[in-house]
Symmetry: C2
Subunit: 332 residues, 2 copies
């Protein structure tokens, strides 16, 4: 899978800005490849990009139409079929992050075949993976892990990659979820592969590399999330990380979607992740903590960062407020 830039961001009739969260993430991190947005009547989201028709965007060189929107029901609307078919006539490939498959929308597969266009359902890995070998491979890897789901692991991975590349280090972001895949143009939705191949898909995603090259692997889930911890563990074993970063959201009162489950203690969470990671890389260390303090005031945020740093004795940052330079300084 390799998405061709530049992108035309399709927002459909997104009910609000939150429904366009995936598309917004792509624009935030890759403004260089987001040429324009296409909105249908009733759309209440705005990415701050120029509005363009399919024809205009095609004329200006857009190559892929990105469906990075949470439609009502999480699915590609049958009403969008006309737009998708017309896009393919004009030369676009289509990439979707929604739950149903592009080929299952009437007329879409036929148009893709007729016009030799590619359809990318980034939530649905189509390739086969080998079972993980567990063998040590050259190259270094960082993996953000979480106290919970949706605490800023992707943002942290992207910020680390940017900081490292800015210092002239060899670093690549490796995407494991839909937003990350749109941003990187490639990757594997590891939570959507067959369970036996979680670690194998991760080994494929961040293969052997130069000894001074860092893969920054997007984390998924949490070892303490009762629904998804299997994905997190397989990802840890496949990544063979040299360095972990613990990601945390300090205002959360329970695990996401699981009201009965408390957020784990940060120190225990680091220990559990290190214990798991040591199976495939005995030298792994935790280099620091990345806290998402978006819902706190500046003063509150500062206090939280100080408290965690004092308790754990590890560099503690907010990737947005403070940047991640201190984490990169701490790399082994």
């Amino acid at each position: 899978m390799q998405l061709k830039p530049p992108y035309l961001m399709f927002l459909g009739d997104a009910a609000d800005q939150l429904a366009a969260k995936t598309a917004q993430g792509v624009v935030d991190w890759r403004p260089d490849i987001c040429l324009a947005q296409l909105r249908l009547p009733g759309c209440n989201a705005d990415l701050g990009l120029p509005d363009m028709t399919l024809e205009d965007a095609a004329a200006r060189g857009a190559k892929t139409l990105i469906l990075g929107v949470a439609n009502r029901g999480g699915k590609i609307s049958a009403e969008w079929a006309g737009v998708l078919v017309r896009a393919m006539e004009l030369g676009f490939d289509i990439a979707s992050g929604l739950h149903n498959k592009l080929a299952d929308v009437a007329g879409v597969l036929e148009a893709a075949t007729t016009h030799s266009r590619q359809l990318f359902d980034v939530r649905h890995p189509t390739q086969s993976f080998a079972v993980a070998s567990g063998s040590r491979r050259p190259g270094k890897r960082i993996l953000p892990v979480g106290t919970d789901c949706s605490v800023g692991k992707m943002y942290t991975a992207l910020a680390l990659t940017k900081e490292m590349q800015g210092r002239g280090m060899k670093a690549s972001f490796r995407a494991t979820g839909q937003t990350g895949i749109f941003i990187a143009g490639e990757g594997v939705s590891v939570d959507a592969v067959v369970a036996d191949f979680i670690s194998g898909a991760t080994e494929f995603l961040c293969p052997a590399n130069e000894v001074d090259h860092w893969d920054v692997v997007e984390g998924q889930g949490s070892l303490f999330h009762a629904s998804f911890a299997g994905v997190s563990l397989g990802l840890i074993h496949g990544a063979q990380p040299d360095a972990l970063v613990l990601c945390h959201e300090p205002t959360r009162t329970h695990m996401r979607g699981l009201p009965d489950f408390p957020i784990p203690d940060l120190g225990l969470c680091i220990e559990a992740n290190l214990n798991a990671a040591r199976l495939t890389n005995p030298a792994v260390t935790c280099i620091g903590v990345a806290v998402n303090t978006k819902s706190l005031s500046e003063a509150e945020a500062g206090a939280v960062l100080e408290k965690i740093e004092a308790e754990l004795g590890l560099p503690t940052v907010d990737p947005v407020r403070t940047g991640v330079a201190r984490l990169v300084d701490a790399l082994p």
Copy 2:
């Protein structure tokens, strides 16, 4: 999925007895539902069942043709299509444990449709599962966990179920792999579900039950197996076990298929599994150890069991040599 007994066991042209290992497991545990075997020219395996033609077996009431054989290449042979189609004409459903799908063999899907027969690919779950809720549910559950893959977890689960049922306890075996599914007539191949749903599929498999009912859940993989630990962890979280049994094979020198990975220390392995299981059931305990001493002499086996029992302070049995009564005695 619910396989209808009795079964006609199809051995094809199995090269040797090992190739019929799955079928043999079904016969060992469910002689009551294995009516006969069907062997093709060149077959070198024998389950000790009467040989019957499709016609004879149908006349005697066989309802399902079981493909529990490891063919050369692990696939359903195109040469078997004629047998499969004829079986469906005679009223059989077909259940396969091979890697490719029955419907992909030429003529098979058409015959199933024409004759209204069911095709069961037990390695390929077709239903959708919910994401695990993690909510505590009534009923009790035992889960065998392993130091490695293929150390006797299914055998232990079946032996526990039999012992408990023999004592008049309410107990059900819950199958998570192909052989177990043939034996139980139902189940879910949890290593073949989409990664996000490992725990959810397990919650579906062993749902809420009477407070004095035990589900004995077939374990999979090992938390210490670098290829498959994600499956093991998701299964542990979904099962919410009250009791774990550690399964072990004492002659193994490294993890199965992974020459660089040593077998974990038994005490550490129990601790890691208990720590993982406590997330969804804080009251979980390890009730004992089941050792597969098949490749040891009687004297060696006795010494191994004694040594482990002394070291860990837990009832240690070989389900074949000693039975599992002491494990059932130790249930909470």
